[in-house]
Every structure is written in C-alpha cells, then in structure tokens.
C-alpha cells in the first residue's frame, strides 16, 4: 500500500465509491501538472516517425501530424485547404496543376523549405524501390517539376477530384536529410527515430511503448501555444480513465464507448466530445461465391438483420444504424435518402422464397444446387464484435441462412480476403473524407490489381466512380455519388451495419473549440491553436 491518504482524499474516495469506482482515488498518483505540458494518453505506440512508412494509427494520426506538414490539410469542414502551399490552380483539362509554396517555412534544423523538397519528396514516394505505403494516393502523378524555389508543377495521367485532398496532403520530407540515402535504404534509415519536419513540434525523446515527448519546433511557421506534448502509452481502458480523472492526464483522443459511459459520471473537470464517426462496421461478401452472388440473398440478409437491437443493447444507442457506405459525418456528400432496410424478417423470407430458395428439412434454404450456408470470418480479440456477429448469425438462421463464425488473426484475414478465400467477413470501412470508393468498388480493382476484395462488378457504379473521381466540379460529383449510393443500396456488395463510436475526453484546462475540433485521426490539424489555461 502507498502512504496513508489525507482525510480529504479519503472522503473524496467514499463519495466516488458511489459512482462507477472512479475518482481521484488511485493511491499515490499525483497530477503531473506542468502548466506548459499537455499529457495525452494513447493505447498503442507508433512504429516509426518516418511519415513515408506510417504503419499504425498512432504514426499517422498523432505523430506525423505533430511533426510534418503536407501541401494541403483537411480542415474542420472536411475539405482541403492550403498548408505549405499558398494557392493552387489546375489547367482546364485538370491534367496540370501549379502549386505556389509558402516562403517562411523552415525545417526543424533551420534549413529553409523550398520546391526542391517537394520535388524530392514526390519523386521518392513514386519510386517503387522506396516502399512508400500510400502510393495508391499518388500513382497517377506522371511528373513533378520545380519552377523556381517556390512553385511546383504536377502533371497527372488523368484529372482527379481528390488530388488536392489526398495527393497534396502527403507529408513532405527534407531533401537535405534524405537525399543522400538510396531509395531502397530509406526504410532502414534512422529518420524514423530522428525525424526532421516542418510541423509545429519536434521529437525530443522516445521511449518505445512507454512515453514520447514532443517540444515546440524552434523554427515552426505554425507556432504552437502549448510548449510540450507528452504522449503516454497506457494499454488499458481503466487506467486511462483513472489518469484523466485524477488530473495526471489531459487528453484521450480515441475513447471507447464504455469509457465514455463511465466518464459521464465524473465531475465537470472532464469534458467529453462526441462525433459522427468517419468509420463504419460492415459485413462484406465474396460475390463470386454461389448463393452470395444472388442479390436477393444479400437483400434478405439486410432485412433479416436486427441492427437496431444490437445498437440499443450493446452500444446503448450511442451509434447509429447506417445504410450507406458514405458516412453521415461527411455532410457534403451524405445522402440520407438512399433505400433503407428496416428490420423485417417476414420480408426477408418472402424475398428468398420468391427467388427460389426453399427451406430444407434442416431449416436452411437451398435452390436445389446451392445451400445457403456460409462461413463468416472475423478478427479474434474483440468480444463485442463477436457477440454482434453471433447475433447476426442467429438472425440469419431465423430466415433460413446458415452462418458459421470463424475467428482469425488480422494478417490471416487480410490475406484470405485478398486471395478470395472466404465467404463473408466482418470488416471496418471508412476513414476517408472523400466519397471516392474506387479502390474498393471498381471492377478494375479486383485483386491483384486493387483492393476490391468483394469482386464487385457493376457498370453503373463503375461509371459513377470514374466520373466522380475525374470531375472537378463538386455539384456534378454530388450527382454521381448520389446515383452510386442508390445503386450500391440496391446491389449490396457490402452490408453496412452501423457507424463506430467516436469521442474524446479532455481535462477542462485544455481549451478546444467544439466547432473547430475534428475527430481522431484528423484531430491535430490545428494543434497550434490549442491552449492550456493555467
């Protein structure tokens, strides 16, 4: 036992005992309260600070956004805005872009940022030998050339509506540091442990799986108000909450639902913010499998699945059932008028009967050649998802479809998805702020050419995806995506279930404006504006 608590603490403990066992009782933990340090808690550590190889959620969402900049960034309206660029313009055919750069930017070692860095970065990213991970976002760039120290030209293979959002959003790396390293050695350089960027912070100290300390970049052009950010790894939900509750930490940016529900009872020194999530959980079909290739079967599955009961029971109603692959957070693109699929098992049975799937003696339907019996693979390690899928399987059984569960580790799941060696899989989708879904839905993207693991082939959706991607006019794009959503809703290559839960919790001394705060992973886009009240 730690030293004896003061009487006041003891009284506070007794009070807090009436709530969900939280409160400032964690014996001995004091507030690590340097007024100039923001303490943030995350659950896993990042793998590398090199933005080219950002592999984990931590790398990409926290570290890279603190250390690096791209030519553009995603603003509070989910649209791209200039960051290292001052302005950009496209030629009439959309194939040539000219980007003007800021002139007041320096790297964290003092060297000025110029077009040389831009050209170097993109050429390196495009080089197959570098192993750059986000190559999908930029592969249609044919050429990058400098035009003086503060202007860059891009030549594209085809016009792209997401060029400014994705391609220009790539974090840039310094030519004077990485230029000496051969492309195939980039992944092994020490840049991942000693990064040099233009972002508001620099890395001071990294204790893997424990703590990472960032301090203000002395040459930052976006000068942050908060001098230091201390990111701590705490593996466990409960400990995270305790640290926040007793004042030793200031921010948890990816709150789980149970943490949220428990923190609601804490005194007003903890603030909570919820968001419509950018992610949704889905069930995906392998459309080449007999039985699943019949759209009637898939529609019946949608009607026969009581998603609302799960949302109410397991998620306390805090997430929403969804029928779209484009999430409601993207107000610009979201269309609430797509065909809905309310829970209606009678209708599901009717659809199946009409399509010739007759119930057999074992309760499972068959059309004489194929039996509706499938294996659903899911990630081991999440009991909530397992319980959801179990309920799904039960619901399916009620309408005459047999679904067997198979838990696998993530690498096996991905591998089998890409090899087409599966019937159905539980998956998460979303995360993008643009409605373009080419990589997962276009027929040209069926593996090994892309990530269309459902093997979806639909002429209307192909056309809408192509037009939506290559048209630069937002209003026209909206039309294409509306049509696409209707078609997706009718053909159901993917069964949308519900949005994920997205919330963050922070101490009241951290000043965050709800109107200009984006959810994780985009949270840090305006970190230089955050402040800690004394």
């Amino acid at each position: 036992m730690r030293g004896s608590p003061s009487w006041r603490r003891l009284a506070a403990c007794v009070l807090a005992a009436g709530t969900l066992a939280l409160g400032g009782c964690a014996a001995g933990a004091d507030s690590h309260h340097d007024p100039n340090t923001l303490v943030e808690l995350v659950r896993t550590d990042g793998a590398t600070m090199n933005p080219m190889f950002a592999e984990t959620v931590e790398d990409a969402s926290v570290y890279d956004q603190l250390l690096f900049d791209g030519l553009s960034y995603v603003g509070a309206d989910y649209l791209p805005h200039p960051r290292l660029a001052t302005s950009w313009s496209a030629s009439a055919d959309g194939l040539h872009w000219t980007v003007d750069l800021r002139r007041d930017v320096r790297w964290s070692d003092g060297v000025p940022f110029t077009s040389k860095d831009v050209v170097f970065s993109y050429r390196l990213f495009l080089d197959p030998k570098s192993g750059y991970l986000d190559v999908g976002d930029i592969k249609y760039i044919n050429r990058v050339t400098a035009d003086g120290p503060y202007r860059v030209h891009f030549d594209l293979a085809y016009p792209s509506a997401v060029f400014t959002l994705n391609a220009l959003g790539e974090n840039l790396v310094p030519e004077h540091v990485l230029g000496k390293i051969a492309p195939d050695r980039q992944r092994f350089s020490s840049f991942g442990e000693h990064p040099v960027g233009t972002g508001p912070y620099v890395l001071q100290n990294w204790q893997h799986d424990s703590e990472t300390l960032f301090v203000r970049n002395p040459y930052a052009w976006r000068r942050p108000k908060i001098a230091r950010i201390d990111v701590r790894i705490i593996f466990n939900d409960q400990s995270e909450m305790e640290a926040l509750a007793n004042g030793s930490a200031d921010l948890i940016d990816d709150l789980s639902l149970t943490q949220y529900l428990q923190l609601q009872h804490i005194a007003p020194q903890i603030k909570l913010m919820t968001f419509a999530s950018l992610y949704l959980d889905v069930v995906e079909f392998n459309l080449d499998r007999p039985g699943l290739s019949d759209v009637a079967v898939r529609q019946a599955m949608m009607y026969g699945y009581d998603r609302k009961a799960l949302v109410d029971g397991l998620y306390d109603g805090k997430v929403a059932v969804t029928n779209d692959l484009i999430v409601s957070a993207l107000k610009h693109w979201y269309d609430p008028n797509v065909p809905q699929y309310p829970y209606d098992p009678a209708k599901a049975r009717a659809i199946l009967d009409a399509a010739g799937w007759k119930v057999g003696p074992d309760g499972i339907r068959s059309n004489g050649r194929t039996r509706l019996s499938f294996e659903l693979m899911l990630n081991q390690g999440s009991s909530i998802i397992t319980d959801e899928m179990l309920t799904f399987a039960e619901d399916m059984h009620d309408v005459g479809i047999d679904v067997r569960l198979r838990q696998l580790d993530f690498a096996s799941l991905v591998s089998r998805s890409f090899k087409g060696n599966y019937d159905m899989t539980a998956n998460g989708r979303g995360g993008a702020v643009d409605p373009d879904l080419t990589t997962i839905l276009a027929s040209s993207q069926i593996p090994p050419n892309g990530s269309n693991t459902t093997h979806y082939r639909d002429a209307i959706v192909d056309r809408d995806l192509k037009l939506g991607l290559t048209t630069l006019n937002d209003a026209k794009r909206r039309e294409y995506y509306d049509q696409m959503q209707v078609e997706l809703s009718k053909t159901l290559p993917i069964l949308p279930q519900r949005g994920r839960f997205s919330a963050l919790a922070y101490a009241s001394r951290l000043v965050l404006n709800p109107k200009t705060t984006l959810q994780s992973p985009l949270l840090y886009f305006n970190v230089e504006d955050w402040a800690l009240t004394p």
Partner: protein
C-alpha cells in the same frame, strides 16, 4: 487389487472420481434434459447480463445466453478434448520414449534432440499458425493440435523410466533368455514403465483442458457460437464483466473444479500404484508431479 484398495483410501481421489463421473453424466445426459438451446440469443437481454435466478440458474451472458446450459455443453468439449488429446499424445509419447530409452546410444541421443527441439518452439505461435492454416476448424483439429504439442514431455518421462528399468533384474533375465528388442519393449519395458505414465495421464487430461481453454479464450480454439469454457471467458475482459461476475466465475470455476478433480485422481493413482510395484521404501517416490511436463514448471503460460 491392492492398488485399488489403496486408491479407495484416498478420500480426495475418490471425491475426484465422483466429481468426474457426475460431470460426465451431466455432459452426456444434461443436454437432453435441459431444453434451453445453448446458443439462443435473447434479443431483449442484449447488453444486460442477468444475475443467477430461478429462470437462469447461473445467469446469462452479454447476449442473453443461458450460462448453465452453455457450461453443460462446454463440459462435453472439455472432457472430450482433455481425454482425446491425452490419447493422442500418449500413444505417440509412450512409443517414442520407450524406443528411445530401450535403444540407447546414438539413436536415443538423436531422438531426444528432436524432443528438445519440439519443446523449444513457442507453443502459442505454433497453435496460431496451425489455427490460421486450417480451413475447416473442427474439434478434431484442436485435439490434434493439443495432442501433438504435448507428446514430447511425456516421451521424456517414459524414456527416463525405461532407462532406469533397463538395468533392473527382470530385464536382465529376459535378455538372458534371448528376448528380442521388440519383445523387450512391448512385453517388459512398457508395462513396467506404465505406472508413472498412468499418473501422468490423469494430470495430462487436466493440462489439456487448461490448454484448450487458453486457445479458445484467444479465439483460436472452439469457435463461437459453440460453447467451450474457454471461449465463454472471452467476455471476461469487457467492462460489463465487472458488474456481472458470474460471467467470469461460472466458466472459470468449472475449469478449476474439473482440473482439480483430475489432479487429485492422479495423485490418488500415484499413491495407489506406488507400493504395488515393489519399490523399496515407504512409497511416495513416484516422481510424477503436475506440470505441463515441459521444460519449465514455473512458466505460467
């Protein structure tokens, strides 16, 4: 036989046998008497685990399934996997160990090297790979996996027994009479080495039950919705489990009780067989103890 009487004098061992018999009976007959389907999800109860009551004797889990019924079905899995995996590992282990011990020399050396190699692999990794590789994941696969990863320890045990027995009088006598090596192994060495093996067998069933529960807990064993005491514990790490302790206690105590029962049975057998093989001294020298007879008894997992 004298051994049987000695066994019956060990009260805890007899209690253990009683427990196992009751469990066996419950596992076989129970599912026919208990009409609640073990996998039936009660939509109204999703997210609200029910405490034990007249309707649900041991409560419900996170999606409204009856814990008592699931525990009953889980007993089937545990007993089946425990015994069958033991049969697999023992068949292999006994022959392997006996041959190595009887052969001696280079052959023995090589064979034991291989055993050492088998014991060096991180078992969990092995299990993960096999689990991921198999397309249809059945109880048979699980039994094979557990059986095939536990035979090396037993082989070592048998070999040690055989080595010590080799020098004994009756073996000399048999050899003097011209018994062939095969006959020696089959007719003389194996039966006499069997005493500690039988004890180890009883402990092994307990170990296998523990192994299966660990696998299933990680999602790499019995697949949901089929109940297994191990996969019933998957919900134990959720925060809801703190308010619903029966979700943690029911499957856990079932495992503890069953493994305990097999452990005391094994101990009882040990005491019973010990003096009857004519060892000098006052018994209790049968050096077989609970441990997943792998290299490190101190390794908890």
């Amino acid at each position: 036989m004298r051994s049987l009487r000695r066994f019956l004098r060990e009260r805890s061992a007899v209690a253990g046998v009683g427990f196992v018999l009751v469990l066996l009976l419950a596992a076989i007959v129970g599912p026919f008497l208990d009409t609640t389907p073990p996998n039936m999800i009660a939509h109204a109860l999703i997210g609200q685990p029910q405490a034990p009551s007249g309707v649900h004797w041991l409560g419900t889990d996170l999606i409204g399934r009856d814990e008592f019924t699931r525990a009953l079905y889980g007993a089937r899995v545990s007993l089946l996997v425990g015994a069958a995996a033991m049969a697999v590992s023992f068949t292999i282990g006994i022959f392997y160990g006996a041959i190595a011990g009887a052969a001696g020399g280079i052959v023995d050396s090589l064979m034991m090297r291989f055993v050492d190699a088998m014991l060096s692999f991180p078992t969990f990794f092995l299990l993960l790979i096999v689990a991921a590789l198999t397309n249809t994941f059945s109880l048979t696969i699980i039994i094979l996996i557990i059986g095939l990863t536990s035979w090396p320890g037993l082989a070592r045990l048998v070999r040690a027994e055989v080595l010590s027995l080799r020098e004994r009088d009756f073996v000399e006598a048999a050899r003097a009479l011209g018994a062939s090596p095969a006959r020696l192994v089959l007719r003389h060495l194996i039966p006499n080495a069997l005493a500690p093996v039988v004890v180890a067998a009883a402990f092994a069933i307990g170990d296998n039950i523990l192994a299966e529960s660990s696998l299933s807990f990680f999602g790499l064993g019995v697949q949901p919705p089929s109940p297994s005491w191990g996969n019933m514990l998957q919900d134990a790490l959720t925060p809801q489990a703190e308010a619903a302790p029966w979700m943690v206690l029911v499957p856990g105590l079932a495992i503890v009780a069953t493994v305990l029962a097999f452990s005391v049975i094994a101990d009882g057998i040990r005491v019973a067989l010990d003096t009857s093989i004519g060892q000098e001294g006052t018994g209790d020298t049968l050096d077989v103890e609970p441990a997943p007879y792998a290299a490190a008894p101190a390794t908890a997992g």
